[in-house]
Symmetry: none
Subunit: 157 residues, 2 copies
DNA sequence: AAAGCGAAGGTCAGATATGGTCAGAAAAGG
DNA sequence: CCTTTTCTGACCATATCTGACCTTCGCTTT
């Protein structure tokens, strides 16, 4: 078992024991506890406590800084995705669209395959027109994502 | 929890308890209470009691000086924004326009996305003409901001 | 009045305390 | 071997906190 695995197990135990499925920890202290460099903690968080796997990380630097890890439910993620849809502005660039797609994937509302398909559609459609690419891209993205989320909801029932 | 967090919490509690959602305090006394330097209080005010977060600060120096912190409502901020619109002169530079946009964002009447869009429009439109850029910029800015505020009002109802 | 004084609050640069990132080394797995 | 995962360290970003120095205001003394 690697060090990363041990740290993962430790953190999961702490969360499990906690009242509200969320804990706050000090990166430096945790690193001290496991006798490793602080960035090792970031590695564990990045590889094992992703949104996709149901964990939410938030942190603050500076004096009194902390790292908070919270379990999120499927419903939490769906509502986060809904909020994210609202944040798609009137016009977006291709790279912004990619960022949104990555976020939706992380939130577990789009599979990798669906991300690929949507990206292809965006490219094909915006290639057709001379002007207003960013606007078309934004509205298409919104529609497609909402469509997939709609489908997912129906399949649940 | 950092000292700044504690002071923030204390101040919010005081405001909450107050009659009219406003309190007056002495910087020196508050610093004494938390055993810190007075400028720490300024730090807390600057980082946590901004307009954007719904607080209004006013103060006076000299003997009998004070710091007053008041909660401002959404309506208050809207009317402040309206007054701000009137302060846009007949001509403004790009950086002045940016300052206005930042203020409107602080007042919560423009989202970050809307600020970006408006800035883009200003740049695109003023690039079209040789003279009178500052004048066009001022009138466009006024119109666009008023438009957004109008939309916001309608969506409320 | 004008000048001087003490009592507020304001500003800002820099020290301190955290956490973040990334390239590359080391280890593990196939 | 080659690839993937783990691990480290140098360098970066940001929040907090302090202290020296500045500004403003009311009051008192000339």
């Amino acid at each position: 078992m690697s060090l990363a695995d041990l740290i993962e197990k430790y953190i999961k135990q702490q969360i499990h024991r906690s009242e509200n499925q969320a804990i706050a920890l000090s990166r430096a202290e945790l690193a001290e506890l496991f006798s490793c460099v602080p960035s090792q903690i970031n590695y564990v968080l990045a590889t094992r406590f992703t949104l996709e796997r149901g964990y939410l990380i938030e942190s603050r630097r500076g004096g009194g800084g902390y790292i908070r890890i919270a379990r999120v439910t499927k419903a939490d993620r769906l509502s986060m995705a809904e909020r994210l849809v609202l944040e798609i502005g009137g016009q977006i660039s291709e790279s912004e669209a990619d960022q949104f797609l990555a976020s939706f994937h992380e939130l577990g509302v789009l599979t990798r395959q669906q991300v690929r398909v949507i990206r292809a559609i965006l490219q094909r459609e915006t290639a057709q027109i001379a002007q207003g690419k960013a606007t078309l891209r934004a509205s298409l993205l919104r529609s497609l994502v909402m469509l997939v989320m709609q489908c997912a909801k129906e399949n649940e029932v």
